[in-house]
Amino acid sequence: MSGIVSYGSYIPKYRIKSEEVARVWGEDPESIKNGISIQSKSVPSPDEDVATISVEAARNALKRRPIDPGEIGAIYVGSESHPYAVKPTATIVASAIGADFQIFSADYEFACKAGTAGMQNVKAMVDSGMIKYGMAIGADTSQGAPSDALEYSASAGGTAIIIGNKDPIAVINHTLSVTSDTPDFWRREGQPYPTHGERFTGEPAYFKHTVGASRLVMERAGTKPEDYSYAIFHQPNGKFPVRAAKTLGFREEQYRDGLLTPFIGNTYSAAMITGLSAVLDVASPGDRILAVSFGSGAGSDAFDITVTDAIEDMNRRAAPTIKEMMSNVKWIDYAVYAKFKKKIVFGENID
């Protein structure tokens, strides 16, 4: 059965604290921190974008298992912050890892679940025999408008998952998706910052899809929350995934390891799969994992996964673990953050 044969992540090194953002906008840091449960978030360097983050994540996946890049038959990159409006990120990743000319590739968009949509796609392609290995990447360098609530959460990161049949470290037993037309969050073409439909963001969007897809996949798998060692949910803030987990009947020890947003912020397309990456860093054979993404607009992709004995043979330390990337950081203040994120604008032709 097909599954995850390797995985790799990349989180930029720079961090800003929520209290620093709150200081600038005259908000109460404690109520912000408690309200969204985010202490700090990652910030990309001015020379980083979704292409560079995707390449680093892809290379980290190839460090853990040295697959011949020529055997990767498909690369899909899911993001809502691709560097070009027209010119695929996937072409840059394919070239940077030395993939073959003959390869399926495309960029995907579905708010924060475009990366997991790619996982489902490459799994189907592996299962149907179209390709030997497929790489799905979720990466973002998302923006929140100055003083908007999203400025406390919108961060940067990426994870690459390689799917194949040969000695998977984690088998994907079941996957399914739910979709509905919901106006919770959007960004029109050419607009730098997104708009959120306040009253739609919680119940009718995040919870309905995330909890709904979780229940459906457990029903299909014939499992109950207590069958899982780990549960990972999309994490736009530190509060929503915890509430989703508790609603479904999961305990803290099941969702703790995959909950990264309180420390790195919301990495959007990378959020759930980077949580999965953190869990794969520590998981043992036989561990069962429920992993459910959410994309505004809206929909959820759910995965029922079982870790195999092959994870013991993998040198997981061959690439940086999520814990390592969370401890090796550089703190910046709001002025440097504004400079890095191009909130300070130069003249016409200078980006």
């Binding site: 001015p46 020379d47 560079t52 980006d351």
Partner: protein, 134 residues
């Protein structure tokens, strides 16, 4: 368009640090060379591509303070001569570091970054830079 073509032609060595190796004496070249400067004619037909590890050591560096406007967000930045494990020496920017952390002899690893962009509508060039090893 001449510049676009050369960016495109050089993308494999810029993106992936692909060098050339002389099959006669084993010398590795980066950027790639079609003829070995030690073996000259002996190397003809014996040059092959080789993937460099991206691991190296700083042999010299300078801190750039006087930067073009497009690099103002990165000022000051360090440019270093880096000797790769396989032998070649190249020039590259050191990123994600405070300037006082950069020293001759420090081990570094290649990362994939934006090198430059041609205004807001032009092509974005990607390639190698380096970070200090932890």
């Amino acid at each position: 368009m001449g510049e676009l073509s050369s960016i495109w032609r050089e993308s494999s060595h810029r993106y992936r640090l692909v060098g050339h190796k002389c099959g006669n004496c084993g010398t590795v070249y980066f950027p790639p060379r079609d003829i070995c400067i030690k073996c000259h004619r002996e190397s003809i037909g014996k040059i092959s591509e080789c993937n460099l590890s991206g691991k190296g050591e700083i042999v010299s560096f300078t801190i750039v303070h006087d930067v073009p406007p497009a690099f103002a967000r990165q000022r000051p930045y360090a440019m270093a001569l880096i000797k790769l494990e396989e032998g070649p020496i190249l020039t590259a920017q050191i990123v994600d570091s405070d300037m006082d952390e950069i020293e001759i002899g420090r081990k570094v690893s290649a990362v994939f970054r934006r090198i430059r962009e041609d205004g807001k509508s032009g092509l974005i060039q990607y390639g190698y830079k380096f970070v200090l090893d932890g």
